[in-house]
């Protein structure tokens, strides 16, 4: 009996120690399935632009960090339920998300693009090179009209709960047949299998996949920014956690000034995606 008592007391103490040891660690949630933003190497270790940037920001904040993996579709609920304290997962700052959580200033920006398999009839689509949806000028409207007629009757695939899904369902390109997937990997698989006629995601997600898999995936149409595509990618933080929000904002300032963000971005994207 005495041994059991001692043993359970020891267990309680060690449990308490691990909890309190974790308490001053900042836990950062990421998806680990959206290269080059964040992904995993062959041994299962988290790598990518945001993983490396997270370690850098933590050094500036001066606190220990832990990077936690979380499926994309449960990312914001997991943050709210305190499974971790911050999101760094290629998450664009949008008004819809800001209803639920706060965002730090943006640290990087990406453009979205449509992609098809080589030989698709969408390949020759005639639009300008890039459109910004914040200002719907005549040229933007004309491009959206071209896209509307080009995408009619096509199956358009994208990852669930993303800015890309929001855009496809916004009505800007008419009423189209949208199919959503849990991960970008699955979107890529079904684009190559031919179940998807065309897919929408960050342009780098397609170029990265085309390069690594050797599959003939090509970008078509304009690159998209602004409007439903948000204002860059930032760190997502719980609304009541203003102290951590300020800490991240200061760390991003420092990292930007010292050129860390551009250096890491160039390493992973092949171009400077920092902002």
């Amino acid at each position: 009996m005495n041994i059991i008592k001692k043993f359970s007391l020891g267990l309680l103490i060690s449990l308490f120690l691990t909890i309190s040891a974790n308490a001053d660690k900042i836990r950062i949630g990421t998806e680990g399935a959206y290269p080059p933003w964040n992904s995993k190497d062959a041994s299962g270790k988290l790598i990518g632009f945001e993983v490396e940037l997270a370690w850098t920001l933590c050094r500036y904040i001066g606190q220990q960090c832990e990077i936690v993996e979380q499926d994309w579709d449960g990312m914001i609920p997991a943050l709210i339920m305190r499974k971790f304290d911050a999101i760094m997962a290629g998450m664009s700052i949008t008004a819809e998300r800001q209803k639920a959580i706060s965002f730090s200033q943006g640290y990087a920006d990406e453009v979205a693009s449509l992609a098809v398999m080589k030989g698709s009839d969408l390949e020759g689509i005639d639009t300008s090179e890039g459109i910004n949806l914040t200002k719907k000028t005549g040229a933007v409207k004309k491009d959206l009209k071209t896209l509307t007629s080009a995408l009619a009757g096509k199956t358009v695939c994208t990852q669930t709960a993303t800015i890309h899904q929001n855009f496809l369902e916004s009505g800007d390109v008419g009423k189209i047949n949208v199919r959503t997937y849990k991960t970008q990997d699955e979107v890529n698989l079904d684009l190559t299998s031919g179940r998807c006629d065309v897919a929408l995601a960050a342009a780098v997600a397609f170029t990265d996949y085309a390069e690594k898999s050797g599959k003939p995936v090509v970008l078509v149409g304009p690159t998209f920014s602004g409007g439903a595509f948000g204002n860059g990618v930032g760190v997502g933080i719980r609304k009541d956690d203003t102290e951590l929000l300020n800490a991240f904002n200061r760390a991003i300032d420092k990292a930007r000034k010292n050129g860390d963000i551009s250096r890491i971005a160039t390493k992973w994207f092949g171009f400077d995606a920092s902002m």
């Binding site: 579709d73 449960g74 914001i76 609920p77 709210i80 819809e96 639920a100 669930t160 709960a161 899904q165 199919r179 959503t180 997937y181 849990k182 699955e186 698989l189 079904d190 190559t192 299998s193 031919g194 179940r195």
Partner: protein, 223 residues
């Protein structure tokens, strides 16, 4: 608790329940035929036929349903020669991929349920038929099959309920079933607890109905 969200998401989820029920009923009907077919093969005295049927049920009962769906949906989709064959007409659609996976899975379990039901029929029933001069084919369809179905009702009711919950995996291959729509609502409201409680309640209600129908049938066909 956001009660408003629970109320507004209810009709959307109810609408998605139709797809869940469609998936369930189509795969159960196909699975019942598959199960009966393979149960009869299992009773065959030819050891090759017997082993083939055993292999089928062994593979589909021994691997997770999720893995089976992924192999049929994402795996087969990567085979180039398959994509240019007539099979692609069905395999291109997530709906049919899910139906194929569910039917093969429930078919494997059903074949085991029916086989054991056939094997527990007392020889006296068959001998009684034989002594009346009834052909053995007719004994099989008029005596053995009805008794086996009655015997397997409790276990089969369980299988229907397991399959109902299995259909929630259809959302992993882009189908908007009850779970799929629940996840979609969560992705815009970021409130998983409320939406999953409503979705869970709908599943529970369907289970309640299935359970009672099976109980009624058991009583009706008891002897």
């Amino acid at each position: 608790m956001d009660l408003d969200l629970m109320i507004t998401s209810f009709p959307k989820l109810l609408n998605a329940t139709l797809i869940t029920l469609k998936l369930l009923s189509v795969s159960l009907v196909l699975g019942l035929f598959l199960g009966l077919f393979f149960a009869i093969l299992r009773l065959n005295k030819n050891s090759f036929i017997n082993k083939f049927a055993y292999g089928y049920s062994y593979i589909f009962r021994g691997t997770p349903l999720l893995v089976q769906i992924f192999i049929i949906y994402f795996g087969l989709g990567q085979i180039e020669s398959l994509r240019s064959s007539f099979l692609w007409v069905a395999l291109k659609e997530p709906y049919w991929c899910a139906i194929i996976a569910f039917a093969l899975n429930t078919g494997a379990y059903t074949s085991e349920i029916l086989r054991s039901a056939f094997q527990t029929i007392k020889p006296g029933f068959i001998e009684a038929g034989k002594s009346l001069g009834i052909q053995s084919k007719i004994i099989f369809y008029k005596i053995q099959v009805p008794i086996a179905i009655r015997q397997s009702l409790p276990a089969y009711g369980n299988e229907i309920i397991l399959m109902l919950k299995g259909t929630s995996l259809a959302s992993t291959v882009t189908l908007m079933d009850l779970t799929g729509v629940a996840k979609y609502i969560i992705s815009t409201t970021f409130k998983p607890v409320e939406v999953f409680i409503v979705a869970g309640g709908i599943y529970l209600f369907i289970t309640f109905i299935i359970h009672n129908v099976i109980k009624y049938l058991e009583k009706k066909y008891s002897y």
